[in-house]
Amino acid sequence: MSRKPYVREVSKTGWFLKHPRYMRYMSREVTCIPIGAFALLLVCALERLSQGQAAFDSFMAAITGPGAFISLLVVVLFATYNATNWFNVTPKAMPVQIGEEFLAGKYIVGAHYAVWAIASLVVLIVAGVF
């Protein structure tokens, strides 16, 4: 090639800092880190549960205090953020066609939020929060 091609320099590690849209994309993607950590916490909880009461009680005692509180608060916030993002794209992920028309996105999103509210309430009630 005789001409020097134009190569746009793109940082491999900081590219998403260049545009708010990329930042929002990355903010959605990183929700997997607290969710994955929470899943591993559940794996540990079930393992300790299977080892008997003493093991489980010491595990639950280990996750009290400010550090654990902050960590779980991060999980709650990121999990909620993931949920809103997940439901907000459902009209694009699974459009509902009725005859010639597509069902308005707000109904699909709204239905997901309604089921989310009910499911959350059921979890809290069954778990004995109230």
Partner: protein, 114 residues
Amino acid sequence: MAKSNKPIFWSLFAAGGTLAAFLAPALAVLFLMATLGHAPGMLTYAGLHAFAAGWFGKLFLMGVVTLFLWHAAHRLRVTMHDFGLRQDSVVAVVVYAIAALGTISTLVSLLSIK
């Protein structure tokens, strides 16, 4: 057509993301209460043991824990690439291995709770 295992991991990602969207916030709130010393009845030994002893509890916990794991593993694999870590084959082995070990551990734990 070239064979690809992408649909398997992607479908686990999508199923896990959907389940996490519906259930993860509420489940995390239960543990958040426990960190304050106010664990709800389900997060006491007696409560969780009774739940995990039944077939519904086993299925629920197995589904939730493993799908959360595989969702996070697949998304983390892609995110590592976005953060500039380009050794995808190594990243894939590590994240899927952790998810697989978590899956086996959960299965073993649940089956031993009677």
